[in-house]
């Protein structure tokens, strides 16, 4: 067999091996309030097969779909009524899995000093943390941190950009 053909066959073989029969954990229940940990279903695996476990994902499962960003007015850390349902939905996800850890990242727009904006972003993150806590989310599952003005979502020097940067993001880590 020529070298080229051998490499080609090996390449295809490797490719095929890559598409293993990994059992995926269930994705994105929209409103799943079950409290049990996700269970790996091996029944469909071939006899003698191996079901891979990704220690990185542990028990957490996939990140829930849906909006995770709360936006704020200038100099404000008040959660506006239009974001209440987002907070409620996220609270549901977090409570559904006690092992889940989220970090709420607070941000500001680019105007003003970096340290004061760090503190303002912290207020925003904590407003969301408090709101989650009021909905029954355990304190131990949530950390509130701030990026101040260091990580804008949108570049720009006008209100259109600024309004998209004044935010708190719920990050599943």
């Amino acid at each position: 067999m020529s070298m080229k053909k051998f490499v080609l066959i090996m390449g295809v073989a490797l490719l095929m091996a890559g598409c293993g029969s990994a059992v995926k954990l269930d994705n994105t229940p929209v409103d799943d309030r079950s409290t049990g940990a996700a269970v790996t279903d091996n029944s469909a695996a071939a006899k003698g097969g191996v079901a891979p476990v990704d220690a990185g994902k542990s028990q957490q499962g996939a990140i829930p779909a849906g909006p995770r960003v709360v936006y704020f007015d200038y100099d404000s850390y008040v959660i506006k009524p239009e974001f209440q349902s987002l907070v409620e939905t996220q609270a549901g996800f977090i409570k559904a899995d006690k092992a889940r850890k989220v970090v709420i990242e607070g941000h500001t727009d680019e105007r003003g000093g970096r340290e004061y904006n760090l503190a303002l972003g912290q207020k925003r993150a904590e407003a969301v943390r408090r709101a989650l806590g009021l909905l029954g989310v355990a304190d131990s599952q949530v950390e509130a941190v701030s990026f101040g003005k260091e990580k804008p979502a949108v570049q720009g020097n006008d209100e259109a950009a600024w309004s998209k940067n004044r935010r708190a993001e719920i990050s599943y880590r």
Binding site: V103, R111, G112, G113, R114, E115, Y116, L118, A119, L120, Q122, K123, E126, R129, R130, E143, A144, V145, S146, F147, G148, E150, K151, N157, R173
Partner: protein, 427 residues
């Protein structure tokens, strides 16, 4: 200027092109400026660093000197110059000197300072330095001339720290006070803010976002060794050294109710933070008074951010700023006389200087996005970050705002300066 490669102190291996090649652009007119002239130094042409030009730029940037131009042939410190033409041009002083390359590869740098009016020499000195210290030799000459003619200690041999951002990379740089000779102390894919020199100039405290939340490091500049001093729950930021170098004041959000509050951490202790402020507002940006007795800080307990001061061990704060609704980023001069800060006026963020004894406050810039003022250790200059034509830049200014110099970086954004201390007793 040739591209210079700068080695990261932390890695000790990586070398990157020096991003910030500074040019001095001085603007403004001072009230009283000492007129001084320079005759070309013998040997300067062939020297790797142009000594006379560096000294000249240092003195210009101080705002207290006016360079008197004049053509002259190169002479050295031994030549008796004809002072009359310089007197005619209006110079009060003349500097002569020489740069000689020695057989062992080092350089003998000498100078002499002439009083043009009285027609006599008022100082001379020499240094033998390796090539890498030629700029430092020039800065020491500038310090000598500055001290002799103004009576104040020069800051030209001090260092500044600052941060640059280029694409997805942040660097914390340590550079000479003129912005040259920058070396990277830290490279990170995430932001670095609030560098703060320790009083002995050996350490930099700073906030790093490398672990995806703000934490505070204390970083030994010469060795690159660093210690994670504040990594508590929530955000850790705004490090400030006590004048004795033993305590770091920081802003932490670890209290049960959350919110940014002031704490202190003993450097030599077990790392446990001691709480200083007790409020439900934002308390941040601590800075010690030079005598160590007070901490000035920013608080919005009155409804919007203002600057307060309280006893360094904590206690009832008294308000310091009363004009405007947004006053942040306090910096204090070493002589205890001045506070510089940023005030938002009509939506613009402007550097102000207040005389502490009287409370008189003056805005001193024409720019509108000023940040992070820091005093030179002789209390005569302030370095700050700002935007000019939409590009970030570092500026130095005299306290009256009359003479400004731009330390212009060539590429990337430049921000977060901190002016280092005097290094040795007779700097």
């Amino acid at each position: 200027m040739n591209k210079r490669y700068v080695c990261g102190l932390l890695a000790g291996i990586l070398c990157w092109p020096a991003l910030a090649q500074f040019r001095v652009e001085v603007s403004g007119v001072g009230l009283t400026q000492l007129p001084i002239a320079f005759a070309p130094f013998r040997g300067d042409e062939a020297s790797p660093q142009k000594i006379a030009a560096i000294v000249q730029a240092d003195l210009e940037r101080s705002g207290q000197f006016r360079i008197v131009e004049g053509a002259a042939s190169a002479m050295d410190e031994n030549t008796l110059p004809d002072l009359f033409p310089w007197r005619q041009k209006g110079a009060d002083s003349l500097v002569t000197g020489s740069v000689t390359r020695l057989a062992d590869g080092r350089f003998d740098v000498r100078f002499r300072l002439w009083d043009v009016v009285r027609g006599k020499d008022i100082g001379r000195d020499g240094q033998v330095v390796v090539k890498g210290d030629l700029r430092l030799a020039a800065h020491r000459i500038a310090d000598f001339i500055y001290k002799t003619l103004t009576g104040d200690r020069g800051i030209f041999s001090t260092r500044i720290a600052y941060v640059t951002k280029a694409a997805q990379r942040y660097d914390l740089w340590v550079a000479d006070a003129d912005g040259e000779n920058a070396q990277s102390a830290l490279t990170s894919p995430e932001s670095i803010i609030s560098p703060a020199w320790s009083p002995n100039g050996a350490y930099l405290a700073y906030v790093s976002f490398e672990s995806r939340k703000p934490v505070v490091y204390v970083h030994e500049v010469a060795t690159g060794k660093r210690r994670l001093i504040a990594n508590f729950r929530g955000s850790n930021s705004a490090p400030a050294w006590s004048p004795d170098g033993k305590t770091l004041a920081v802003t932490l959000s670890l209290s049960r109710e959350g919110g940014s509050q002031l704490f202190t951490i003993d450097i030599a202790g077990n790392g446990e933070p001691r709480r200083l402020t007790q409020s439900s507002s934002i308390d941040t940006e601590p800075v010690y008074s030079p005598d160590g007795k007070y901490i000035y800080f920013v608080s919005d307990r009155g409804g919007s951010p203002q600057i307060y001061r309280m006893p360094a061990a904590g206690g009832v704060p008294e308000r310091v700023t009363f004009t405007g609704v947004y006053n942040i980023s306090p910096a204090l001069s070493q002589d205890g006389r001045w506070i510089a800060y940023i005030s938002r006026v009509n939506g613009e963020f402007k550097l102000h200087v207040m005389e502490l004894a009287t409370g008189n406050t003056t805005p001193i810039t024409e720019t509108s996005a000023d940040e992070r003022p820091s005093f030179a250790p002789n209390s005569r200059l302030i370095v700050y970050a700002t935007k000019q034509q939409d590009r970030e830049a570092l500026m130095t200014t005299t306290l009256d705002g009359k003479i400004k110099a731009r330390l212009a970086g060539q590429g990337g954004d430049i921000r977060e300066p901190d002016w280092g201390p005097f290094q040795k007793p007779n700097n």
